[in-house]
Amino acid sequence: MSFLKINNTSIGYSEPLIADINTSLELGEVCLLMGNNGIGKTTLIKSILGQNQLLNGEISINGKSIQKLNPNEIASQIAIVFSKAEIPDNYTVTDLISLGKYIHYPYYFKLNEKDKNEIASIIDKLNLTQFRDKKLTELSDGNLQKAFIGRALAQNSPLIILDEPTTHLDEENKLMILSLIRNLAKNENKLILFSSHDWRLAKEFSDKIWWLKDKKLISGISEEIILNNPELITPKILDFNKNFHPPEIVAPKLEKEMIYSFLQKNFASDLTKFKLTFKNYKWELKSEDFYDNYHTLTDIKQSLQNLINTNN
């Protein structure tokens, strides 16, 4: 039996945003929730949290229907990291992470020794030890996000949902958070569902993808989803997958446009004489003056750069 199961469910407000969702996730998996702005990612998260009424169908967690659980029982199954939160002025990292124990105390007067130790070990695990008594307002964005993830961990719920955990972060911190998510699922046997616009990067860290598109939820194993949907395919620039035999690809739109923009800036406004295609693992750059094959876009850029330099 799957840990998180969504059966024939439609979600939304008066009109369904996403209809007929049928999917499930297991403990230990990382699932990336992707889709454009306004397509219903947050609504889906709220529906799983039981904060939005379902239009029809059923969402069950650990075999129990969400609609039948009270907020406290839901919280003991699902911990959440929202993309936005009020940052209390006076909270330290330890205070925030201790808040994860909130649902486990009737009046939250004093943490017992066991919980205190657990919070200390979470802080260590997240490499926040040197910031433990630092105010949240003084933390960097990356460490702040880690502290919020720490709060979710302290809640001890098997499912952790993160809404846009990588927005506002730089490359290095994005990678740090994504690999943290990956490790948590693997080492702590958590089920992690996270939404992200950085899907090109995030897909590398997830087992499954839920892709919201045209009022449908397309779900499956990450690689399959990517392979079966040409519009998602981007040749991996740094680390090329040799087993992957794409047919002739017209797009990777973004990279192509980057090169065209480079050409436009440096050579001519008329780009008709340049032709950029991707064939058999290689980029082909053709023009009236030359024809060449490259493995990566960086190579193209480099050779064009050399061309500019010699012309000057």
Binding site: L49, A75, F82, A85, N90, T92, Y107
Partner: protein, 324 residues
């Protein structure tokens, strides 16, 4: 250093005991020890009077800072408080209305005070309802101050208008009430006050955990299972009962509700709300006892004393802008 909080509270409680004893010994008449327990003693009545005064100050010290503390945590605004929000001025307005409209009606003396208290409580409850109705907009920190200022100014204007037309005895009654005289409470009033404050504290205890859950914003609170509507109601009930009951029986005691929670946050980790609540109660009692002593020594009404102390502190808070 395990129980630093206990040590802190111990020192404040010692301070309370000392100031309580001093407070009992200050006044026009010199009292001797037997006066307090010997019914046939010459000044037994005066002693009872003093005990009532000191007890009233304890109750005010519990209620006003707690009320301010709850409002500040709820609005997440360190300047919120029963007086800054205008609760006290609207209470005064209702008392003024009562005194104005009842001047021609003959009301027995023993009911007079109860009606004053009742109208004062009614005024605070009405304003609290209005505040909570607009509470989402009041998260804006400057707006809340402007609103409180405007509502106080409006109440003040209406009160002045009423004063102009009221007869002199009623005017005197009103002015005496606004002085926040700590001498007028009798024992039955103190008993009622105690009951009201216990009810207020009951709702306060119910609000603390949801307030902790609210600290990361409403979305998180909802995911912890905090019911916003229940919290809102217990905040209304607790803070208006606490501030209104004291205002009703002892007159408006200003600024304590803002200043005491502010000092408590300097003394102990502001994130620990249960500790803060206890600290507010003990420090509140201590401060009120000290102010009561100063009020007796200087012969000024207690309201004037709290204002003289409160305004500079609030000004400093605004200028330092640390937690605003």
């Amino acid at each position: 250093m395990k129980n630093k909080f206990g040590v802190l509270c111990f020192f404040i409680i010692v301070g309370i005991i000392i100031s309580f004893i001093i407070n009992l010994n200050i006044g026009y008449a010199k009292l001797s020890f037997p006066d307090f327990y010997n019914e046939s003693a010459e000044q037994y009545e005066i002693a009872g009077f003093r005990i009532n005064r000191a007890l009233a100050m304890i109750l005010a010290g519990i209620a006003i800072p707690t009320s301010g503390f709850l409002l500040q945590e709820y609005f997440k605004n360190p300047l919120a408080g029963p007086d800054v929000l205008g609760i006290t001025s609207v209470s005064s307005l209702f008392v003024a209305f009562y005194i104005f409209f009842s001047q021609d009606i003959l009301i027995p003396d023993y009911l007079q005070n109860s009606f004053i208290s009742l109208s004062s409580i009614l005024g605070s409850v009405v304003l609290m309802m209005v505040l909570l109705l607009f509470s989402n907009r009041f998260r804006d920190k400057s707006f809340i101050i402007i609103f409180g200022f405007l509502i106080s100014a409006l109440a003040g204007a209406v009160v002045s208008f009423l004063q102009f037309y009221v007869e002199s005895q009623s005017l005197k009654n009103y002015i005496l009430w606004t002085f926040g005289s700590n001498n007028q409470a009798n024992f039955s009033q103190i008993s009622i006050l105690t009951i009201l404050i216990i009810i207020g504290l009951f709702f306060t205890f119910k609000s603390i955990k949801p307030l902790i859950g609210n600290s990361l914003g409403v979305a998180y609170a909802q995911s912890f299972g905090v019911s916003q509507s229940k919290l809102k109601i217990s905040i209304i009930v607790a803070s208006s009962i606490l501030s209104a009951s004291v205002t009703a029986f002892l007159g408006p005691i200003l600024f304590i509700g803002v200043v005491v929670p502010h000092f408590c946050r300097m003394l102990w980790n502001p994130a620990q709300l249960w500790h803060q609540l206890i600290l507010n109660v003990v420090l509140g009692i201590f401060v009120m006892q000290v102010f009561s002593i100063i009020s007796e020594l200087s012969q000024f009404p207690i309201n004037i004393i709290t204002t003289f102390f409160g305004i500079p502190v609030i000004l400093l808070m605004l200028m330092k802008n640390k937690r605003l």
